[in-house]
């Protein structure tokens, strides 16, 4: 193998890829898209929750039990407690809900339809026995459950009697609201698991696994489509007169892998101000040597997927066919992300362990396990996982080099699996 040729090809592949408009669009457009999706889905959700509470100013009650005859005619709710607790605690913001009693449902319904009330609460005569209540609202949306809390507090106060002050009522209605959880971290120290920390504990493994998975998939997709494109445009024959298929394969793996890493690097750089600040605020700790482990997994998994995708790219006849195959590889690579709740809930469990040892899913699954809160992955498991992945990558490279050499010059019908395997067996 002439390494000068390999790096000449790698340099061209890298430059040609990163200078494409599609690359710039992906590099900047993807984080922008995710930011927009998060803003649209999370921001308005929280706002809607708060505005539902703010607008909940009038509650009609039809009490058939008589239990609430002396209940307060006003509910006070601190909506600051409902806001996401990511920064310093917010000052109290009290919202008042006026409670109006009605003798029967038709009268209450009339007021509700007129717009005098936001909601009507019907307390049936057998409430104490069965615990069933009915609530009527003018409209319903995803976040309407937020307004259940003031009603809950009012019901507790009504049941407990007039002897309780508002603070006691609030505590009884949500006794664990302010409970802090301290859990052992991976260094064996108890640390606070608050809202902020829980979010970081979830987002950090997800971000690591996604970045690793994306860098592998993006690099692999570049290889797959790049080879298919060159084959389709008949460039390969004149290149192969000058370089060997192995040099071409090597150059593409290096150049397009570097392009994939550059893309992820840009995403990381754009994400650090957001996620980095969150992680620092939450005092999150990373496992020792995580950067080196992630790099090792990236290199081996990229070699594994990149080799297979290049081999597949060489046997297809056009980009469309190549992309159809690519989807399956991406699915395999991201399978652990799909099952991440299972892995994060039990990072030492059998599913997480098997997925982190199985070469096609090892990289992303191991990242999730390593980054899961309180998780300590035994070093021997990391060693076995990397060894298996190395072996699989070597086999994939050897297989693809043979298929690549023959597939590059084959046109016409796409070969089936037995034919591809026969090619791989040729000297």
């Amino acid at each position: 193998m002439n390494w000068r040729q390999v790096f000449t090809i790698a340099r061209r592949e890298y430059r040609a890829t990163v200078r494409r408009k599609a690359f710039l669009f992906t590099a900047i457009g993807t984080p922008a898209y995710f930011a927009l999706v998060m803003y649209i889905s999370l921001g308005p959700g929280a706002k809607e929750k708060l505005s539902t509470l703010r607008e909940f100013t009038a509650l009609g009650v039809v009490d058939s039990t008589g239990l609430y005859r002396d209940a307060p005619r006003e509910i006070q709710t601190d909506i600051a407690l409902e806001a996401p607790q990511l920064g310093a605690p917010l000052p109290p913001q009290i919202v008042r809900t006026h409670v109006q009693f009605f003798p029967d449902m038709p009268a209450a319904e009339k007021a509700l339809r007129r717009g005098d009330l936001n909601q009507v609460l019907v307390i049936p005569a057998d409430y104490l026995v069965r615990g069933k209540l009915r609530r009527y609202a003018r409209s319903s949306n995803l976040f309407s459950s937020a307004d259940g809390r003031p009603i809950s507090a009012w019901l507790v106060e009504g049941l407990a009697g007039r002897g309780l002050d508002s603070i006691r009522t609030a505590r009884i209605s949500r006794p664990t609201l302010g409970m802090d959880l301290y859990a052992l971290n991976r260094n064996g120290v108890f640390e606070l698991k608050d809202d902020r920390r829980e979010l970081v504990d979830f987002m950090l493994p997800l971000a690591f696994a996604m970045l690793l998975g994306l860098s592998i998939t993006v690099g692999g997709q570049y290889l797959l489509t790049g080879v298919a494109e060159e084959k389709e445009s008949r460039i390969l024959e004149s290149i192969l007169c000058t370089v060997t298929p192995e040099e071409l394969l090597g150059g593409k793996l290096v150049g397009l892998g570097a392009a994939g890493l550059t893309l992820v690097g840009i995403w990381v750089a754009m994400g650090i101000p957001v996620f980095g600040a969150g992680a620092v605020l939450a005092k999150a700790t990373l496992p020792a040597g995580i950067a080196f482990i992630a790099l090792a997994y990236f290199l081996l998994a990229y070699l594994f997927y990149g080799s297979l995708m290049t081999g597949i790219g060489s046997v297809t006849n056009n980009m469309r066919e190549a992309q159809q195959f690519g989807v399956w590889f991406s699915f395999l690579n991201f399978a652990p992300v799909i099952g991440m709740t299972l892995i994060l809930a039990r990072p030492g469990g059998p599913v997480a362990t098997i997925m982190s040892l199985f070469p096609p899913t090892a990289a992303t699954a191991m990242m999730l396990r390593l980054m899961a809160p309180s998780s300590v992955v035994p070093a021997w498991q990391i060693g076995i996982s990397l060894t298996l992945l190395l072996l699989a990558a070597w086999l994939a490279l050897a297989f693809s080099a043979r298929v690549f050499r023959i597939g590059l010059l084959m046109y016409g019908k796409t070969p089936n699996l037995p034919e591809i395997l026969r090619w791989a067996g040729r000297k």
Binding site: T8, R20, R234, I235, E237, I239, L240
Partner: protein, 317 residues
């Protein structure tokens, strides 16, 4: 320069190139002919080391084809393709660096080549902005950069207008004068007659013709001579019939007659002879004849490299 000896290549038990042997001499333009599917592309791929022969040897400048000498061989394939979104200058420069040039040398040579094929003003344009003919000239530049010693051109004239055909012929002449050997694969027989010294024709993987182009044409022509003369040529001894071909007369000879005996008879008659040549069949007709007849070489009449033809006949049996 290039020696191909007993080269065999099979796919799924079927020989695509069947024990082919030939030599391309330094500085000549050598034609590789054959109908579609004859095995030409496979043979070229083996010469360029893209494919390995199952058996036989290919040597270039005395050495087996391999990493050491493949960079001195350039190949312009029939199925052409370039990086459409790359700039014209960068494409040639890239091929130059792959052939071992430094970036500076590749840039310098790319500039010269683009000027030679009249594409200088397109240097910074994307390849996809070029017309088909221009792309073809660009692809020729990728083959020429790095100063190859052997230039393999597969249908280089297709898609070119007459002006660019002339340009390509001029470039080939220049390169030949500079010591470059050219292996030309084409179906344009007039170009072979015009440009090539010798030719090899294969059919169904077998060698069927091999030798100087002129000899091949003569070997397959009628036993006849072409005479330009003032005077009556009818009724000459040894002449079966006389045909008028353009301004010349074609004298079809009796099997036992020779060109020399007939010429003597003409001169004895006192006819003034301006010129006389052995009759030649147009190469296109030779091509059609040989392909239609399968392996039908007429060995008894062939005057071209009898050893090679005997070997071919032996294999054909």
């Amino acid at each position: 320069m290039l020696q191909v000896h007993e080269v065999l290549k099979s796919y799924d038990g079927r020989a695509v190139v069947n024990r082919v042997s030939f030599e391309v001499r330094a500085g000549e333009i050598f034609a590789l002919l054959g109908p579609n599917g004859a095995g030409k592309t496979t043979l070229i791929r083996m010469i360029t080391d893209i494919l390995k022969p199952d058996s036989g040897t290919i040597r270039f400048e005395g050495q087996p084809i391999g990493a050491e000498n493949r960079q001195r061989i350039a190949y312009l394939p029939e199925e052409r393709g370039l990086y459409k979104r790359s700039k014209v200058g960068e494409v040639i420069e890239y091929w130059g660096t792959l052939k071992g040039l430094t970036r500076a040398a590749a840039q310098r040579e790319a500039k010269e080549l683009l000027a030679r094929v009249e594409l200088s003003e397109w240097t910074d344009k994307q390849v996809q902005a070029l017309s088909k003919g221009m792309q073809q000239k660009l692809q020729l530049c990728t083959a020429l950069i790095g100063g190859p010693r052997l230039l393999i051109l597969d249908e280089p004239f297709s898609g070119l207008d007459p002006v660019n055909v002339q340009l390509l012929e001029d470039i080939l002449s220049e390169r030949r004068a500079g010591g470059v050997t050219v292996l030309l694969s084409t179906h344009q027989m007039n170009k072979v007659e015009e440009l090539c010294d010798r030719a090899l024709m294969i059919n169904k993987g077998y060698m069927v013709l091999y030798g100087p182009v002129r000899e091949i044409r003569r070997a397959h022509a009628d036993h006849a001579i072409m005479v330009r003369a003032q005077g009556e040529l009818d009724g000459l001894p040894g002449v079966r019939r006389v045909e008028q071909v353009n301004g010349d007369k074609k004298l079809v000879l009796e099997p036992q007659a020779t060109a020399g005996s007939v010429l003597r008879a003409i001169l004895d008659r006192g006819v003034d002879v301006e010129s006389m040549n052995m009759a030649e069949l147009p190469l296109e007709d030779v091509f059609i004849k040989v392909v239609r007849e399968g392996l039908g070489l007429d060995h008894g009449r062939s005057e071209i490299e009898p050893d090679a033809l005997a070997a071919v006949a032996e294999r054909a049996r």
